[in-house]
């Protein structure tokens, strides 16, 4: 095994939070990904999808009915716990506090987006540092690239969907162009990391 692969295994094993961001073309990917998470998945998961405030999506409720995990919209000052998937609510930025709680923020949109992926990624990196896995999928703007750069600077693990496979490749490409992505993978390969994380963490 190469040194790089060992390093990535180490990061997967050390991780304490998994965070996912996407916009256009990413919705179904996230949906399918979350449904593959087993009941014993050891990490809490935070999801940021760009969505309009005027459209009341019931994705959390729907997924919660299908998954063995607790899937919900994040609440202000809520503790981050494993066994739970938190979605950023529409029209709010979702921030991670140093005491591993979530907080909401109604400040200016970033890249015309609220929630913005960058905001959650950066604040999550501040708290979880090298114990963070971030995944960026299909999307139609460059939100997430700054966040990935920031995570990489703090030695978190950065994973981007292969642009050729993404329905809209602007978001994955923008992140890859910064030159600090650990893994560029197809969705199948990203999904198979779930089992690797479960295995690595259970042998820990």
């Amino acid at each position: 095994m190469s040194e790089n692969a060992l390093d990535i295994d180490q990061k997967l094993q050390n991780a304490e939070l998994l965070i996912l961001g996407c916009s256009a073309g990413g919705f179904l990917l996230v949906y399918n990904f979350l449904l593959k998470l087993p009941a014993n998945f050891p990490l809490p998961v935070v999801v940021i999808i760009h969505r309009s405030r005027s459209y009341k999506s019931l994705i959390e409720e729907h997924l919660n009915g299908l998954s063995s995990l607790n899937i919900k919209m994040a609440d202000d000052k809520e503790s981050i716990k494993s066994g739970t998937v938190y979605f950023a609510p529409p029209d709010y930025h979702l921030l991670v506090e140093t005491d591993k709680t979530l907080s909401l923020d109604n400040s200016e949109p970033v890249h015309f987006c609220r929630p913005a992926i960058d905001v959650t990624f950066q604040t999550a990196a501040d708290t979880y540092q090298d114990k963070l896995i971030a995944i960026l999928l299909s999307g139609a703007n460059s939100d997430g690239a700054d966040g990935m750069e920031y995570i990489s600077e703090l030695n978190g693990l950065t994973i981007v969907q292969q642009p050729e496979e993404a329905e809209v490749d602007i978001m994955p490409k923008a992140a890859i162009n910064r030159g600090n992505i650990d893994l560029v993978l197809k969705m199948d390969e990203i999904t198979s990391l779930i089992h690797k994380i479960v295995k690595l963490k259970s042998n820990f």
């Binding site: 609440d75 202000d76 000052k77 921030l95 923020d105 400040s107 501040d126 920031y150």
Partner: protein
């Protein structure tokens, strides 16, 4: 925000800035949620193109800089009739109740540039309650209060404001309430007649009147749980018996003892009525 290095501002440096501002100016931000506060400080550093050393020195040496700092550190993003469903609920569930009151005092805490307070004024006017009403808008920031007092807003924002107003169950056209100038609109002076904007700091100041409605939406999210509790207790003490409390859509009465003193009027729009 431009690309930010993780090394630009550390967590201990945020604490240092909080201490410095408290010592020099008496403003206490220690009850603010740190992740958001840190982003605001970074935003100022980027706007001004300064590092932490410059920031410290400017806070200590320049009152003018501090005024700007205070303006940027708090979030002043607001709209008229923001969350139209909330205003619809007010019209349908709260105002009919108020019509039996001789006087209606409204406190909009953390009013920023005043858009929400004037939205309340318009609704009260349309329900024939405005002449009996008095609206207090408070904020920690004198600059936003100056804007609120003038009631002059960017013309470009009126499209969204208007859409919100229509979605809230409008009975007129929003343009009935303002005059357009070149790039701005000026609200009708009758909407300003029964209003007072003044400085009030939720962190340190106390009860200053008794109110029939208190609206404080999307302010508590910037506070720690401890400060949220202090502020909610302050609101409780400032409400008349059977007075109404309006919070933002993601803000709650999480303290069970305090929650038991309120009845839920609208669960989704977070409207409560003081019952004990």
């Amino acid at each position: 925000m431009d690309s930010v290095s993780a090394k630009l501002l550390s967590a201990p440096e945020v604490e240092e800035i909080i201490d410095l501002v408290r010592h020099v100016y008496g403003f206490d931000f220690s009850g603010y949620s740190r992740a958001s506060l840190k982003r605001r400080i970074i935003r100022i550093m980027q706007l001004k193109k300064i590092d932490i050393f410059d920031l410290r020195s400017l806070i200590i040496n320049s009152n003018d800089f501090f005024e700007e700092f205070l303006l940027e550190i708090t979030v002043n993003v607001t709209e008229m009739f923001r969350d139209p469903a909330f205003f619809k609920a007010l019209r349908e569930k709260v105002f009919p109740y108020l019509s039996s009151y001789a006087r209606i005092k409204v406190w909009n805490a953390g009013c920023s540039t005043g858009e929400e307070l004037y939205s309340f004024a318009i609704l009260l006017e349309e329900e024939n309650l405005y002449n009996r009403s008095f609206l207090y808008g408070t904020d920690i920031n004198s600059e936003v209060l100056d804007t609120a007092k003038k009631g002059i807003y960017d013309f470009k924002k009126m499209k969204l404001n208007s859409e919100n107003y229509i979605a809230s169950g409008a009975i007129n056209s929003l343009s009935d309430y303002y005059e357009s100038n070149h790039n701005s609109v000026t609200l009708d002076s009758k909407l300003k007649k029964n209003t007072l904007f003044s400085i009030h700091n939720l962190v340190t100041d106390n009860v200053f009147n008794e109110f029939q409605i208190i609206s404080c939406r999307n302010v508590l999210i910037y506070f720690t749980v401890e400060l949220q509790e202090r502020v909610l207790q302050l609101f409780y003490e400032s409400l008349c018996p059977l007075g109404f409390l309006c919070l933002g859509s993601k803000e709650y009465l999480r303290n069970e003892e305090l929650a038991s003193k309120f009845k839920v009027v609208d669960k989704v729009e977070n409207i409560y009525q003081k019952i004990v």
